[in-house]
């Protein structure tokens, strides 16, 4: 109620700011900040740069795994392997069928005793 009755609120704010500044100075004096280690700022920047840099692979195996496990590459590899397996299996299966059918025909028309 007392503050509300003050005709000049500006002077009241000015004295509060001054008191605040003095309070900070007292507080700083009471708790002195430790001295920073040498090249502190430089080290901080270096750590920030390292954190922002892309992760480097440890070896060629890591690089290969990173490549292979990429979804697009993985799907393409699986599709290629399946296609290669199906084509080779079909070809080999057809050859086997051909040989079996040839052997059956030969067994029918030319008995073993004549060959």
């Amino acid at each position: 109620m007392k503050e509300n009755m003050n005709p000049d609120p500006g002077s009241n704010r000015g004295s509060a700011e001054a008191s605040d500044t003095r309070f900070r100075e007292v507080l700083r004096a009471a708790r002195p900040s430790p001295s920073l280690p040498p090249r502190f700022q430089e080290n901080v920047w270096r750590r920030i740069e390292d954190a922002e840099a892309p992760v480097k692979s440890g070896s060629w195996i890591d690089a290969l795994i990173a490549l292979v496990l990429r979804p697009r590459f993985a799907y393409a590899t699986v599709a290629t392997l399946m296609l290669a397996g199906v084509l080779l299996g079909t070809y080999q299966g057809a050859q086997n069928v051909k040989q079996t059918e040839q052997a059956r025909y030969l067994a029918a028309v030319a008995p073993d005793s004549l060959r």
């Binding site: 440890g58 070896s59 195996i61 890591d62 290969l64 795994i65 292979v68 496990l69 590899t77 699986v78 392997l81 399946m82 296609l83 290669a84 397996g85 199906v86 084509l87 080779l88 299996g89 079909t90 080999q92 299966g93 057809a94 086997n96 069928v97 051909k98 079996t100 059918e101 040839q102 059956r104 025909y105 030969l106 029918a108 028309v109 030319a110 008995p111 005793s113 004549l114 060959r115």
Partner: protein, 162 residues
């Protein structure tokens, strides 16, 4: 073991499993589609149409009883040869005679077989017929030539030169 290496080996094993699975499934699928017909090889290998297959089938069915009869005669003669040879260590005159008769029967059977192959080849389109005849000669008579060739090559021994 290094974690990266384990992952790499796992990826390789998975890839190999995918390839092998596709390969064996496809191979089995082909084997299932195999025909039960004795003449299916001729149709597939020489690309015969239905009319050509019908002619070949007729010849085949006509030849089969003759072939079976010859086979029975050869089997009987073979049994006679075995009986004549017995457990002795000498080739007797009787055994020699039976061997000659067996050889003659085989020659007759081979001649009959070759006549059948020629007839079948003539029932096919010319190019397919030539290829069929060459293939059948190689498959049926070629094995004798290979054996004789291997025997003549062995240790410089040559038949017919001494």
């Amino acid at each position: 073991m290094n974690r990266s290496l384990v992952i790499l080996l796992g990826v390789l094993a998975l890839g190999a499993a995918i390839f092998a699975g596709s390969y064996f499934v496809s191979q089995r699928a082909c084997a299932i589609t195999r025909s039960a017909d004795d003449l299916s090889w001729l149709r597939d290998e020489f690309h015969l149409n239905d009319a050509e297959m019908a002619r070949v089938r007729l010849l085949h069915e006509g030849y089969m009883p003759q072939c079976a009869k010859m086979c029975a005669l050869i089997a009987a003669k073979n049994a006679e040869v075995q009986a004549a040879l017995g457990s002795g260590t000498n080739v007797t005159a009787e055994a020699q005679q039976k061997l000659t008769e067996l050889g003659e029967l085989r020659a007759q059977c081979q001649a009959q077989m070759l006549r059948h192959f020629i007839a079948v080849s003539q029932a096919m389109p010319p190019e397919a017929g030539r290829r069929y005849l060459a293939e059948m000669k190689k498959l049926t008579l070629g094995s004798h030539e290979e054996i004789e060739q291997s025997m003549s090559d062995h240790n410089g021994h040559e038949h017919g030169t001494n």
